[in-house]
Symmetry: C2
Subunit: 220 residues, 2 copies
């Protein structure tokens, strides 16, 4: 039986340094992906790297990215055979690590890096599932409370899929790692946590005041 | 006299879509860069894209990234002639944009994308300036309140530089852009702002209790 709790490490997903920070745990990878709003999608264009921020959605072990049928990476994935080589990265910054030495300053973070080939999704049912996942990634449940895409919108939207196969997480937690000989230095040392929160929802200017704030926004 | 308030657009920095969101304003580009903690650095390895999160620092129109002398992109930048082609991207997510239609869901964001060639910094004075900038990027002023790198640490650290020349910002603000025929739909519509904050600093377990929290951490 295949191991369903972890992804298999590959030459590209085993770091050359700080290997103790790397993880292939499926649940951890999914949790980091699900907490993000924007990924950084890398691809090669005319021999040079391009890194663009974009929305994404996850359905099991598949990631989806969408865009206009005229956008560059989506056009390239659709035209390339077999697909477009990509690297998709999601990072959360959790804290500022202040060591006594400049050298040991760091950041507490959680990141996921996915290597693979992105393919354009052409199956209509999978396209609809992917588009729902993209909306629900912004706010869980929102796809049930919005008008689904119509034929014209579907025709204008390209969806690409990247399977979670060659993937790893990397996590740094905890305090600074000062050298023993620096412990008596007079500098404050520790971690400043970074927090993320939600402000009060701002209704659109043309929203009918009779439309109440939905429950799924009061519990974000 | 050259235009010092804006960067010159290039084929790579003019988007194919949503051009009204693009900006080449130097002050805006710097402000977005200075507010971030982690950039996503893209480069090409064995023909495939790699996107890694990493710290960075800015000194005027130069960005600096550092790492172990054994890390892949830094090795590649040092060994490559002339340098390593990179794309460096910084993104802030400011709000969730909930439209009445699934199609018009979006994210309010501010991003900067830098295209260029990264070179290893070998001048010792520039290396020290860059390393101070990296520490001060985590907490402004911190380089004055920590032990500077010693010879051994300097020897273990590689620094690469990327000049801000081919660079653009992209910003989405404001509410949803629903189509007129959707305005009467019953769905709540508007923006949920995302906020970032700092938690109470957590002293390292071995910090002498007599060391007070510095002022620059109380005013973050």
């Amino acid at each position: 039986m295949p191991d369903t709790t972890s992804y298999a490490p590959s030459e590209r997903t085993v770091p050359t340094r700080a290997r103790e920070r790397a993880s292939y745990d499926r649940a951890l990878v999914h949790a980091i992906l699900d907490e993000g709003y924007v990924c950084h999608l890398g691809f090669v264009r005319d021999g040079a790297p391009v890194v663009l921020p974009t929305l994404y959605g996850r359905v099991g072990d598949r990631l989806y990215v969408h865009g206009s049928t005229g956008s560059r990476p989506l056009l390239m994935a659709g035209r390339s055979d077999p697909g477009l080589a990509v690297c998709l990265t999601v990072t959360h910054v959790d804290g500022l690590v202040l060591a006594r030495s400049a050298f040991h300053h760091s950041i507490n973070y959680r990141s996921v890096v996915v290597h693979g080939t992105a393919y354009e999704v052409v199956d209509e049912e999978e396209r609809r599932t992917a588009l729902d996942a993209l909306v629900d990634h912004v706010v869980p449940g929102r796809s049930y409370d919005s008008r689904p895409a119509n034929a014209k919108e579907l025709a204008a939207t390209a969806v690409i899929r990247l399977d979670l196969e060659e993937v790893s997480a990397k996590v740094r937690t905890g305090g600074p790692n000062d050298d023993p000989e620096d412990v008596s230095l007079p500098h404050w040392t520790g971690v400043v946590p970074l927090t993320r929160g939600y402000g009060a929802p701002v209704p659109a200017s043309d929203l009918d005041p009779a439309v109440a704030l939905p429950d799924y926004l009061t519990t974000l």
